[in-house]
């Protein structure tokens, strides 16, 4: 049904020309733009939602909304960045609806316990060489997806927006409706949690379970407040 492969990232000039053609009514031009970003948009939706059907719905909604709003696209940001923001909003809205369905909270992102102690780094072992060289790429992908899936939506959304999408701390806070201080705390929690999970997968032979107290790090948790 769709024989054309996704295209690589477009240079700015090509992108601008395609946008102009699309605005003038050329579907093929729009379709090429979509193909240039679909993998990135899927990554946002998939990594925020962790569920295929919901991720597909978010991706479709994002591109459909982009199609409807094409005339308003002025090109200040790249096309993929623009759709990335739309996709993020779609995925976050689905997350909020999911939370409401589960009756947990009206706001999926206000339920994290940000005041509790940040867990100590436990696994203190060097990684093997670059995992993407020594392990099949598909296996590394699976490990990354599984690890991200282990995080709560509140932690996951902060990590995806800040560390993967490259939003600033303030942009992340605005998008999620939480304070910048909360973004910083959750980011640290998310990074450390993922570090533990990936160290289990990629750590060297002599994987040792070590608490930092052994290294004179008692009280680390109370010292873990992130400066605002």
């Amino acid at each position: 049904m769709s024989p054309r492969r996704p295209v690589a990232n477009l240079d700015r000039e090509t992108e601008t020309a395609l946008v102009e053609r699309a605005k003038a009514g050329d579907f093929d031009a729009f379709d090429q733009l979509v193909r240039s970003c679909e993998r990135r948009i899927w990554a946002i939706c998939w990594r925020l939602l962790g569920e295929k059907e919901e991720a597909e719905n978010a991706m479709q909604s994002a591109f459909l909304k982009a199609m409807e709003a094409l005339e308003s696209f002025r090109g200040e940001a790249g096309f993929c960045t623009w759709i990335g923001r739309i996709a993020t909003n779609e995925a976050l809205e689905i997350l909020r609806r999911r939370k409401r369905r589960e009756g947990i909270s009206l706001d999926a992102f206000a339920t994290e316990n940000d005041d509790g102690p940040i867990p100590h780094p436990e696994l203190l072992v060097d990684w093997r060489e670059d995992p993407s060289r020594s392990i099949e790429r598909a296996e590394v992908r699976r490990i990354l997806d599984t690890s991200l899936d282990a995080l709560s939506p509140g932690l996951r959304s902060v990590f995806v927006l800040r560390d993967m999408e490259g939003l600033s701390i303030s942009e992340t806070a605005e998008q999620l409706g939480i304070t910048e201080a909360n973004v910083k705390v959750r980011l640290l929690r998310a990074r450390l949690a993922l570090r533990e999970l990936l160290t289990r997968a990629f750590g060297g032979q002599q994987l040792v379970h070590t608490h930092l107290e052994h290294a004179g790090l008692g009280g680390l948790a109370s010292a873990a407040e992130v400066p605002s």
């Binding site: 769709s2 940040i118 203190l124 590394v140 070590t210 930092l212 790090l217």
Partner: protein
């Protein structure tokens, strides 16, 4: 940073690219002598790098991609009432 207790606060700044901040300079100095902190910092940095690696981003499932392009094509016809070529 005479011991490791300030590690996490400095780690957050360090990973956010504020490497010039004073606490990060101290962290770097500390890491030179503390193997455990070096491991935590290094593996945290590599964790973020892996998630940023575009080659490691999941590909769009083929069926989802086909549905996307078909739906966009149909929506384009409906909204714009113009030819979509093939």
């Amino acid at each position: 940073m005479s011991d490791c207790k300030d590690l996490l606060g400095a780690l957050a700044e360090y990973l956010d690219g504020n490497e010039q901040a004073e606490m990060c300079t101290e962290l770097r100095r500390h890491m030179a002598t503390c193997e455990k902190c070096r491991v935590v910092v290094d593996s945290s940095r590599r964790t973020i790098e892996l998630f940023r690696d575009e080659e490691l981003v999941a590909e769009v499932p083929v069926d989802a991609r086909d549905r996307l392009h078909l739906n966009l094509k149909n929506a384009w016809k409906l909204c714009r009432g113009e030819s979509t070529g093939t």
